[in-house]
């Protein structure tokens, strides 16, 4: 095509074929990976569920009545007037739906389906916020450290080594216990009061965000630094120096786009870990505040009656499993797409 056009003619931009960037290539590759795409679609679905949770749950997640304690799935129970204001499906009142719990109810008579649906909000916000926080802090810290090199790099990495040596999970548990105790005492003044207030507003998720972000940026910063070191001495970076580009231009235009792919993949693959950590913390009572529903907390509440009422554990447990699997599949698909060398044999 190019050969047929005289070289000295002015170029009509519209005839210039747009090339495919490495990112576009990776996306095409990713689309061929069925399990990865299925994971992505499921994650999008769960995000939609989280956003539109009120429309997808027939009852409120906190509405309770002891008469309906531990209802079995799909069995008819007396729904009292407590439930009725919330009894609808996608906005339309449900006459028949208001007589049953699809997946049963918990010890306090709260609808398990509604709680599971609202539980996506906790898991998804943890997944998105914790990964964004750790990616942002980690990639900037690591890039600066690797790019600066020499003494600065040495110093910054020793800080990271130090933080690695500190057992952060016990520290987070202590922090949670401390702030929860303060909250119970009703501290309202100063910075501590403000933090507690904000945490209450977020249903107890603020500390989880901080904890997970603080826990994971360290590994991310090491990875970012390693990536920067492998690119820093490439000739195209030298070429950028040669034309007089500033350091920030080199970092943001030349380094970042090249290192971001592997970091994003690592972050996607770390998300199941975040969701699990949240579940674990909620399971031991250090996660979100009741009555905010979190899958870990629901499992924790249900496991005592596991034999007589297995659905109390199975429903949130299944949701947790499928969501983490979806993130894992998507992460694997992304990794294969960005780095074909790592792809398993077909």
């Amino acid at each position: 095509m190019a050969e047929s056009v005289a070289l000295d003619q002015p170029l009509d931009e519209s005839t210039a074929r747009k090339g495919r960037s490495p990112g576009q290539d990776a996306w095409r590759e990713f689309r061929r990976n069925r399990i990865g795409v299925a994971g992505l679609i499921f994650i999008i679905f769960i995000i939609l569920v989280a956003i539109f949770a009120p429309l997808m749950s027939p009852y409120g997640y906190a509405t309770q009545n002891n008469l309906n304690s531990r209802a079995k799935p799909m069995t008819a129970y007396t729904i009292t007037t407590d439930y009725l204001p919330n009894c609808h499906w996608a906005g339309t009142p449900l006459e028949w739906g208001c007589t049953i719990f699809f997946t049963g109810s918990d010890a306090l008579g709260r609808d398990l389906w509604s709680r599971t649906v609202y539980g996506t909000r906790v898991s998804i916000s943890i997944a998105l916020v914790a990964s964004t926080v750790s990616l942002l802090i980690g990639s900037i810290y690591g890039t600066v450290s690797g790019y600066a090199g020499g003494r600065i790099d040495n110093f910054m990495m020793r800080i990271v080594d130090f933080l690695y040596a500190v057992p952060i999970l016990p520290l987070i548990i202590l922090m949670q216990v401390y702030f929860k105790a303060l909250a119970r005492q009703g501290v309202r003044e100063g910075l501590t009061g403000a933090i507690i207030e904000l945490n209450q507003q977020m249903g107890g998720m603020l500390f989880l965000f901080i904890a997970l972000g603080a826990l994971n940026w360290i590994g991310m910063s090491r990875m970012a630094r390693g990536q920067v070191l492998s690119y820093k001495n490439k000739e195209f970076i030298e070429a950028a120096h040669m034309i007089g580009a500033s350091n920030s231009r080199i970092i943001f235009r030349h380094l970042m786009p090249n290192i971001l792919g592997p970091l994003l993949i690592a972050e996607t693959l770390a998300i199941p870990g975040y969701i699990f950590t949240e579940a674990v913390l909620s399971f031991i009572g250090l996660g979100v505040n009741p009555p905010t529903p979190s899958w870990g907390q629901m499992i924790s509440e249900g496991y005592q009656g596991l034999r007589s009422n297995p659905h109390l554990v199975l429903v949130p447990g299944a949701a947790l499993t499928i969501l983490t699997l979806a993130f894992n599949f998507m992460g694997d698909g992304l990794r294969d797409a960005f780095d074909p060398k790592l792809r398993g044999r077909k």
């Binding site: 190019a2 070289l7 495919r20 070429a239 040669m242």
Partner: protein, 326 residues
Amino acid sequence: MSENGTLIKVDKLTKHFPITRGIIIQREVGAVQAVDKVSFEIRKGETLGLVGESGCGKSTTGRTILQLYRPTSGKVYYGDADLTELKGEELRRMRRNMQMIFQDPYASLNPRLTVGNIVSEPLEVHSIGNARERRERVQELLRLVGLSPHMINRYPHEFSGGQRQRIGVARALALQPEFIVCDEPISALDVSIQAQVVNLLEELQETFGLTYLFIAHDLSMVRHISDRTAVMYLGKVVELATRNELYTHPLHPYTQALLSAVPIPDPSKEGKRQRIILEGDVPSPANPPKGCRFHPRCPLAIDICREVEPEWREVAPDHWVACHLV
């Protein structure tokens, strides 16, 4: 020969890379003497060839002249300006006059940018023209290096090695520099493509009156392209002469050994070619030999070579050499 004005003057240029030990407190335990007290001039409009074996400091010399590496000591003059003194904005402005073409066309182009963005980046960095003017200039540059302007929106991985090297040339030309360091621009290319790129470089030199420092290890290619040729060994320039003088009357024993390794494309003569085989390996630049750096391998070495460093002097008009025996 070209006009006689000096464009670049390199005066006792030295670049040592420190070797450090220790994790937190780093001590310097030595230095790799990549380039050691090198002096020469590059004249306006000429091509100075720089040859030598791997690791002898050719590329470091080129990069230090361009201030990509800051010299340990010594001066580099561009006209009247001392490049080693320039910093920040002044150096950035100076960069418009000097550019570099890199060795590896696969590593020298950012894989995430389109050809258009790569070539227009120098213009953007120096705020030349608006977006539309830059776009036109990029198309003009692509035509100049023999690429179709239609390739403006493609990515580097869609091109062959030779085409990529042309993109690198277009980027180097974007700021209309006077002086270009060609750092082994053809050694990563197929032989059939090498000639094309060299011819392109020659054409561009003629059109724009460019001055080249042409770094290579291919002696016949350097003979073809350069006006004068410098030979480096272990961080030192050992001989510098006009092309024909150097290739016909090499004075330094290392140059003689180097040139004797070039095959002659004539079977009857090739059979009689006398090879000077050097003994041993190149010593480590972290611990170069005392006296003349070449003496441990020099077939002609005498006592003084082991003690005293030979002086860099002009033994005939335009023929410089550093050897006690000349």
